[in-house]
Amino acid sequence: MTSTLEAPAPAADLRPRPVRRGPRNGPLILLLLGPSMLLIAAFIVLPALYSVYLSMTNTQLTGFAARDPQFVGLDNFTYLLTNGDFLSSLGQTATFTLFSAIIGQTVLGMVAAILLSRPWLRGKGVFGAAVLLPMIVPEVVASLAWASVLSNNSEGTLNRLTSLFGADSTDWLQVAPLTAIIVVNIWRGVAFAMIMFQAALEDVPAELIEAARIDGARAVQVFRHVTLPLIRGPVFLYLLLTTISTVSVFGLVYFLTQGGPGGQTRIAAIYIYERALQFSQIGIGSAASIILLVIVLVLGMVYVRLAKVEV
C-alpha cells in the first residue's frame, strides 16, 4: 500500500482551454513535457517491455547462462504454469487479495465511513486520525509494529490479549502465517477504503435516503437498495485500486515472514523477488511478472466493466 493516498483527479477538470495553438508551440511543448516523457519511458515503460523480452530468455545473473542468454520462447511460461510452487503462490496471492483487500478493507472501511458520517457520533476527529495512522506510516514501521504484536513470545501483545481469555501462547507467524498477514494488510488499508467511501457517501443526496426511510425501509434496506447502487462507481474504482496495490504488496510480507514458513506466504511479489534476485533466474522471474501483470490487467478490465465506468 505505498500509493494509498492517490485518488485520481477528476477527468472533467482536465479539458484543455481553447488556447492558441500554433506551429511555434511545438518546441515549447517538447521542452516542457519532454523530460517527463523521457523519464517515464526510460524507467517505467522500458522495464515493462524489457521484462516481456526477458521472460522469453533463460537470462541468469550468475553462472553459464549469464554470459550468453538464449531465447527460449515460451518455455518459462510452460515451466511456471506447471510448477506447483508458482501455482500455490498465485493461489496465496488470490487468497491474500480477496480476504484482505476485497473483503476486509472494504467492509471495515465502509463501516468506518458510515459511522463517521453519522451526525450523532462523538470524537470523529480522534477516530478518523486513529484509522488513518496505519496508512500513513512507512510499511517497514508497520511491519515492525506487527512483529511485536505477533511475537511468539508469551509476552507478545496478541498472546497477552488471548491469555486474558485463557488461551495458550501461540507462534502466530508459524501457525497461521497467511491469516496473520491478511489481518496486517486489512489494518493497513482500512483508511484508504474509508477515505474513498466517505467521499462517495457525501455525494449521495440526503433526500433519497430520507424518502426511503419515510417509506418504511430499514437502515440495512436503505443501504442495500439506495446507497449502494448510488456509490457503485466509486466502490468499483476503489476495488480496482486496492486490488492493484494489494497485488503489489511486498515489504509488509517480506519483512514479517520472508515468504515462509515453508512458502506459506510466498505471494507473487515475493516469488518474483526470490526467483529473479535471490536464485538469479531472471527469465523465470520475468515470466512470473508477466503472468501477474496479465492477471491484474484482466481484473482491471472486469472491474471497469462491472462499474460501467467509461475510461
Binding site: S151, S289, L292
Partner: protein, 293 residues
C-alpha cells in the same frame, strides 16, 4: 438511521429531528460507538511497542512499561551508522520530490494549456501505468540500471523514484493548472512577460494546494519505499532508513530493540507531521477572488 417509528410522539406526525430517542436509536448509537472504539483500538494497539520501546532504556521485543529515558534517541543520532540512514533517506526523498515537482510542473503546464496530438493518449497512458504492479517490473529495471551503471548509486535511485511518482504528479498538476484562469496569464503576457515568465510569476503562486498535495504524495511514497532501494542499493552506506531498519531487525541474535524502536519513530515522524500539516492547508484554496480583483 432509525426506521421503526414507535416514537412516543406528542404530535400526530413526529418530526424527524428533536424527537426523543427511541430504544432502537439508543441501541444503534451505543453499538456505533462500540464499533468505532474497537476499530480505533485495532488501528492503534500495534503501535504500542514502537512508541513505548523507543523511550525505554531496557527495551525488549515486547510491550512493557518503559523505564523512561531518551537514550535511544541520543544513541540514534550519535551512533556511527544510524545518522547515515536518516541522511540518506532525506537526500533520496527530498531530491526525488524536487525533481519530480520540477518536471511535473513543466509537464503539467503543457498538458493543461496546450492541445496537441497525442495528448489524450498520453494522459490515459500515464493513468494506465498505475495498473502495473511495482514488483513486476523491478527485475528488468534492475538490469537496466546495472547496464547504464546507475545501480547501487543514490543518483540512480533518485531518478527512478522521481520517475515512479511522475504519472500521479502530472495528473494532479495538469488538473490544478487547468483551474487557474488563463486570463491571469494573458494579462501577464500583455505586460510583456514571456510564457515561461508568466508560468513562473502567475501560475506557480496560484497552484499552491495542488503542488502541496503532489509534493506530499511524492515525498511519502519515496520515503516509505522499501522494494526499490532493496533491489537497487547494495552498499550499506547508501541504505535509507527502510532498508536499515529491515537489516537491523533481521539480525536475530543481536537486535538493539530500543534503538530499533527509536529509529522507527524517527522514520515515521516526517510522514506523520507532514500529513497533519498538509491536511490543514490543503483545504484552503488560494484561488478565491483572484479573478474578481
Amino acid at each position: 438511521m432509525a426506521t421503526v417509528r414507535t416514537t412516543p410522539s406528542t404530535t400526530e406526525r413526529p418530526k424527524l429531528r428533536r424527537r426523543p430517542l427511541s430504544p432502537v436509536d439508543k441501541l444503534q448509537r451505543t453499538l456505533g460507538h462500540v464499533l468505532i472504539v474497537m476499530l480505533a483500538l485495532f488501528c492503534l494497539i500495534p503501535f504500542a511497542w514502537v512508541v513505548l520501546s523507543s523511550i525505554d532504556a531496557n527495551a525488549g521485543p515486547n510491550v512493557q512499561w518503559p523505564a523512561a529515558s531518551f537514550d535511544n534517541f541520543v544513541q540514534f543520532f550519535t551512533n556511527s551508522g544510524t545518522p547515515r540512514l536518516l541522511a540518506n533517506s532525506l537526500i533520496i526523498a527530498i531530491t526525488a520530490t524536487a525533481v519530480n515537482l520540477a518536471l511535473g510542473l513543466a509537464g503539467g503546464y503543457a498538458l493543461a494549456r496546450f492541445r496537441f496530438r497525442g495528448r489524450r493518449v498520453f494522459m490515459f497512458g500515464i493513468l494506465l501505468i498505475r495498473v502495473v504492479p511495482a514488483p513486476a517490473t523491478i527485475v528488468a529495471l534492475y538490469l537496466i540500471m546495472v547496464n547504464i551503471g546507475l545501480s547501487n548509486t543514490l543518483i540512480g535511485l533518485i531518478i527512478v523514484e522521481a520517475a515512479f511518482q511522475l504519472p500521479v504528479t502530472l495528473w494532479l498538476l495538469a488538473g490544478t493548472i487547468s483551474a487557474v484562469p488563463i486570463e491571469l496569464e494573458e494579462a501577464a503576457w500583455m505586460d510583456g512577460n514571456s510564457r515561461l515568465q508568466g508560468m513562473w510569476r502567475i501560475v506557480l503562486p496560484l497552484v499552491g494546494p495542488g503542488l502541496g498535495a503532489a509534493a506530499m504524495l511524492s515525498f511519502l511514497n519515496v520515503w516509505g519505499d522499501f522494494l526499490t532501494p532493496l533491489v537497487l542499493l547494495q552498499s550499506t552506506d547508501l541504505y535509507p532508513l527502510s532498508i536499515g531498519l529491515f537489516r537491523a531487525f533481521s539480525e536475530y541474535n543481536q537486535v538493539d530493540w530500543g534503538l530499533l524502536a527509536a529509529s522507527a519513530v524517527v522514520y515515521l515522524a516526517p510522514p506523520a507531521v507532514l500529513y497533519l500539516f498538509v491536511r490543514k492547508h490543503l483545504l484552503k484554496s488560494s484561488l478565491g477572488g483572484a479573478v474578481k480583483g
